[in-house]
Each structure stands twice: as structure tokens, then as C-alpha cells.
């Protein structure tokens, strides 16, 4: 089962880093960059995909998602460092969009609160 997280590039960049740091290759993380234009430039994330392979991974991802508010300044730094056209000088954290991908490839939207339930299910 995969979890797709969509949001602002800086938040996704921070999540990518934290999930990789915490779980390493266990998370099977894929960072999805925007695909636009004919210029080769720095990545601007539009989503990260995490493999929810067990209760520990679900727990870790849930904690990281919840912790993002504590690291707003780090995300602000990332935001300013991302592509000029995407800079948000009045940066605000918005709720992430989460989608759960089942084994058959079907997707359904979930909210942050559902992550805790997923963790219980995985246990």
C-alpha cells in the first residue's frame, strides 16, 4: 500500500528529507518532480510516494507529517531556495493532500487523522 502526499514544494522537500533520514530505503520513497517546459532546472516536487510496508513505517510517517509544523522555518528556507517563480514570500503552511493507493492501484483521499487509524490497522 502506497501513500501519496501532495502539497507545496517546500513542505514536500522537507518531508522527503525527513522520511529518508528516518526510514532510509525502507520507505521506498519516490519524490515526484514537476515536469514542465523544455528547460533542465532544479527539481520542484509535486508529490512524494511512500510505501506503507508495516506499522513502524506508518507510525514514523504519521509522526513526521505531524511534526512538520515544528519545522516551519526550515521549510521557509527551502521555499526561498526553490525555483524563483514558485517563491512564496508570505509562506504559509497548508494542509497536505493525502491519497492512499491500494494494491489494485485504486486511490482514495484520506486526511491526516486517518493515518493514526492506518497505523492501528497495520499493527
Amino acid at each position: 500500500m502506497d501513500l501519496i502526499i501532495e502539497g507545496q514544494p517546500a513542505e514536500l522537500e522537507w518531508l522527503r528529507t525527513e522520511i529518508e533520514r528516518t526510514l532510509g530505503s525502507e520507505a521506498g520513497l519516490e519524490a515526484v518532480p514537476a515536469q514542465d517546459g523544455d528547460e533542465m532546472k532544479e527539481p520542484l516536487l509535486i508529490a512524494v510516494i511512500v510505501a506503507l510496508g508495516g506499522p513502524e513505517i506508518v507510525r514514523a510517517v504519521t509522526e513526521i507529517v505531524a511534526r512538520r509544523y515544528e519545522h516551519a522555518e526550515e521549510m521557509q528556507r527551502l521555499d526561498l531556495g526553490l525555483r524563483e517563480s514558485e517563491m512564496h514570500h508570505e509562506y504559509k503552511l497548508a494542509e497536505l493532500e493525502l491519497r492512499l493507493v491500494a494494491e489494485d492501484g485504486s486511490k482514495r483521499p484520506i486526511v491526516e487523522a486517518d493515518l493514526a487509524r492506518l497505523e492501528a490497522d497495520a499493527s
Binding site: 530505503s25 528547460e39 532544479e42 510516494i49 521557509q76 526553490l82 524563483e84 504559509k92
Partner: protein, 479 residues
């Protein structure tokens, strides 16, 4: 919408160290850098840019600053230039992109008449689709002994890759090896990837199937093979299928170096799909019409001979057919970047000097940086190489013209009519419809502006007095 939380004091914004913005134009091979900084050296460069007369050392100082402070960016962009000049599929795509770029100017030249503004040029559907091929998402579903590929609209899914992912993943490995001056290990590369925003999707995809170490090793090899064929994404997955079938461990056990392994995969691809004749790879045909097959070195050399109008063409030519010590250096640098970059000296092998990006523009993102002060640095090899068939005109001269065309037509073909706000001469008839939006130089007076002459020479048209239409020019440089 969901809940929102504002961040803390805006004062913090000022304290943040802001990095640069950079990209490579996939047609011209030009590297564009916009630098930001909060250090004294940056402030001094902004001051120098505004000084009248301009200080002699400004250009050298700005160029040196870019290399000193933003070396990692330049390394990454340089990788793209090396890819463009040595991967046949990218070179061919750039040639076709160049044709599409100058198409409107050619059309206007050949078809004098009155044209209402904004200009409304649309590409033929197959050309338009071909121009998007690098971003088409393909999903690979890998089974026990099979692999199924399908084009998907929603790129946000596991196992989906685009050609852009291949190119960026390859350039990212190049940058990593150049920065550490070593081959590196999979786990260390994974850690390095998260230090700052970097492309990681292709590595993640391969690591899931091959493990971190094999993914790091195989990624650039597979990408090189893929772009030595038409339809690179299909070619890439062809290599992927072969490796999956044999097992990544098998390839490690062969004790081949990267070049030998690349040849093995390339030979396998050739045996399955054959070689493409250069006659079948015309710039007059959209990429969508290309059949799947490998592009042999001889065929690539023939393509470069037929289409030498790209700024990277002289670099490609010396990489394919240059003298001993010069030939094959770009390809070697892509295979073994660690041989060419010294992390302690922060220097590079002099053999790479012939392969510097054909053009680098450097601007400073500061309110006091004067409009039109962007530095344009052309590669030395362009000065020394004449363009075939142009009576000794060096590539440097042609490259300046190519860049001007590129900037002007990219802006013009976005279909919007808006004034050129970078220029203060709002009453100029070229300004209000925004015909000159892609023109870099801002003249002191409209009468000094070089844009109208450029426009007339390249299109045989000029704007009418009220800036609402183009009208044909006969004589006066128009004919």
C-alpha cells in the same frame, strides 16, 4: 481549504541564505544562472555592475564568483551540456527544437503580409506532441518474468518515469561524483541526495529493484544507452528488462568497467531493434515519426555534419572526431566525472576546457543590478571554430544570434500580448505589443535600440506605427 498557519517575523526572511536559480536550455545548450547572495562579495559585484564606466574586472569577477560560490550548480548544468552534445537523441531533439524555434521567422520571411498582433502561430500536431515527449509519463509494471509499459496521464504514481527523470537522474549522479571526486557508494549517495533539493526519482526506482549500490552504478550507464537510441524511454526500459532478467548481481560479477557494460547493453539493444539510418532521422520530420533503434557513432557523426547549426555542434564534433587527447573527452567525463574534478583544489581537468558550456549567462538577483548587465560568457572553442558553409563566421557569432532568436521567439510565442515592462520606452511601437520582451539590451533612447533591425532582418517585417500589426518591409534591410 485546510488550516493555515502563518510563519514568524518577516525579519527572518532577510537572514535566510538564498541560493541561486539555474537551468540549461535544451535547444541552445546555454546555461542560465541567476545568483542571489547576502555576502560582501555579492554586494560588491552589484556595485560594480552599476558603476559607470563599467570596471574592467567586473566580468571576470562575476564569472569567478559564480564558479566559487555556486560550483555545485554549474557542475550539474555542465552535465546537461555534456549530455546534449554527446547523446545522439538529445542532439537530434535540439536540432528539431531549433527548427521549430526559427519556424515563425522563416514563415514571415517567406510570406510577406499584414499580421495582426499578438501573433498566433501553432505547431503541427505531431510536432507539438513531439515537443512534449521528454515529459510523457510511462509506467512500468514489473512482474516475475515480464514488464508491461503504458503511457499514463497521472504521473503521480509509483513506477512512473519520464525522459526528464532519466536526464536529471544522470546529471545528479555526475554532480555527486564530481563533487566528491570519487565513484561513491549507494548509501552515501542516498544521504547526499537529501542534503538539498535534488532529483532522486530514478535512483529510488532502480534502488527498489537493484539495491542502492547497483542502482548508483547502473543508473548513468542505462541512461547513456537509452539516449544513444531513438525513443529513449523505451530503450531505457529495454535495458532495465535485460538487467531484471539476468539479475543486477550477474552484471556485477562480469567485472566489466562502465564502458564495457554500456557496450554490452547497447549491443543487446541493437540486436533487438537494429540501427537507425541517419536518412531516417531528418530534422524535417517530427520525433514522433522516428522508429525505435540505436544510433551508431557513425550515424551520429553524420547527423552532426548535416545539422551543424547548434551552439554545441563544435563540441560534439571534437568529441567524435577531434584530435588525440581531445576526442571522447565529453563521453569519458560523463562516465567517470571523478577523473576530471578535484574536490580539494576545486578545479577541473584542462582537457574539459574545450567542452565548457557554449554559453553561460550570469545575472545577479538584486534590485540594483542594472537591466542589461547580464554577463554572457561564450566558450573559447566557439571563437576558434567556423560554422560550416558560413564563410569563416565563427560559432561565437552565430551563437549570439541563436540566443537572441531563442529569447525573442520564446517570449513571442506564448500567445500573450503584454508590454515589455523591462524597457522604459513605453511609447515605442515594439514595446506595447511586447515584441521585444525577450530582448536583453535596453537602450538609452528608442532610436538607439537594435531590436527593430534584428526583427526586420530575421522576419522581413516591422511593426506598424500603432503597434497593432506587422507589415512587410521591402528594402531597408528587409530584403
Amino acid at each position: 481549504m485546510g488550516r493555515e498557519r502563518s510563519l514568524s517575523s518577516p525579519l527572518r526572511l532577510i537572514c535566510v541564505m538564498v541560493p541561486a536559480h539555474s537551468y540549461v536550455d535544451s535547444v541552445t545548450g546555454c546555461v542560465h544562472l541567476t545568483l542571489r547572495g547576502a555576502d560582501d562579495e555579492f554586494a560588491e559585484l552589484v556595485r560594480m555592475a552599476g558603476a559607470v564606466p563599467r570596471e574592467q574586472s567586473f566580468k571576470q569577477d562575476l564569472y569567478a564568483y559564480a564558479w566559487e560560490r555556486h560550483r555545485h550548480l554549474l557542475l550539474h548544468e555542465w552535465a546537461h551540456v555534456l549530455q546534449l552534445l554527446s547523446y545522439p537523441a538529445l542532439y537530434l531533439r535540439a536540432v528539431r527544437g531549433g527548427k521549430a524555434m526559427v519556424g515563425p521567422a522563416f514563415f514571415l520571411s517567406a510570406n510577406p503580409g499584414n499580421y495582426a498582433l499578438p501573433l498566433d502561430f501553432r505547431m503541427d500536431e505531431r510536432w507539438a506532441t513531439s515537443s512534449l515527449l521528454s515529459t510523457v509519463a510511462v509506467r512500468a509494471v514489473v512482474g516475475e518474468s515480464s514488464m508491461e509499459l503504458s503511457v499514463v496521464e497521472d504521473g503521480v504514481a509509483r513506477g512512473v518515469l519520464t525522459e526528464r527523470d532519466l536526464i536529471e537522474g544522470d546529471a545528479t549522479v555526475f554532480q555527486y561524483r564530481a563533487e566528491i571526486s570519487a565513484r561513491g557508494l549507494g548509501r552515501a549517495f542516498r544521504n547526499w541526495l537529501r542534503e538539498r533539493p535534488r532529483y532522486s526519482r530514478l535512483f529510488s526506482f532502480l534502488a527498489i529493484h537493484f539495491g542502492d549500490d547497483a542502482a548508483l552504478r547502473l543508473l548513468p550507464i542505462m541512461v547513456r544507452v537509452a539516449f544513444r537510441a531513438t525513443r529513449p524511454l523505451e530503450a531505457f526500459f529495454g535495458c532495465f528488462g535485460m538487467i531484471m532478467h539476468e539479475g543486477a548481481d550477474f552484471f556485477e560479477s562480469l567485472e566489466m568497467d562502465d564502458e564495457e557494460l554500456e557496450d554490452l547493453l547497447f549491443t543487446d539493444l541493437r540486436s533487438k531493434h537494429g540501427s537507425v539510418d541517419p536518412d531516417e532521422l531528418s530534422m524535417q520530420r517530427p520525433e514522433l515519426d522516428d522508429l525505435l533503434g540505436v544510433i551508431e557513432v557513425k550515424a551520429f557523426a553524420e547527423i552532426v555534419r548535416r545539422y551543424p547549426q547548434l551552439p554545441v555542434a563544435p563540441l560534439t564534433k571534437i568529441d567524435l572526431e577531434g584530435e588525440d587527447g581531445q576526442r571522447g573527452v565529453a563521453r569519458e567525463a560523463l562516465r567517470y566525472p571523478e577523473r576530471f574534478f578535484d574536490r580539494r583544489k576545486r578545479d577541473f581537468d584542462p582537457r574539459l576546457e574545450d567542452y565548457l558550456p557554449p554559453a553561460i549567462t550570469i545575472a545577479l538577483d538584486a534590485p540594483d543590478f542594472p537591466q542589461g548587465s547580464t554577463l554572457l560568457a561564450l566558450a573559447p572553442v566557439l571563437e576558434q571554430t567556423p560554422v560550416p558553409g558560413l564563410d569563416g563566421t565563427p560559432y561565437s557569432e552565430m551563437t549570439s544570434l541563436v540566443l537572441k532568436n531563442r529569447w525573442v521567439w520564446r517570449e513571442l510565442l506564448d500567445g500573450e500580448e503584454r508590454p515589455n515592462r523591462k524597457c522604459p520606452h513605453a511609447s515605442c511601437p515594439y514595446n506595447s505589443p511586447g515584441l521585444c520582451r525577450g530582448w536583453l539590451k535596453v537602450p538609452p533612447e528608442p532610436s538607439n535600440c537594435e531590436f527593430p533591425d534584428f526583427f526586420t532582418q530575421t522576419t522581413k517585417h516591422r511593426v506598424n506605427a500603432d503597434g497593432t500589426a506587422l507589415e512587410p518591409v521591402v528594402g531597408e534591410g528587409g530584403e
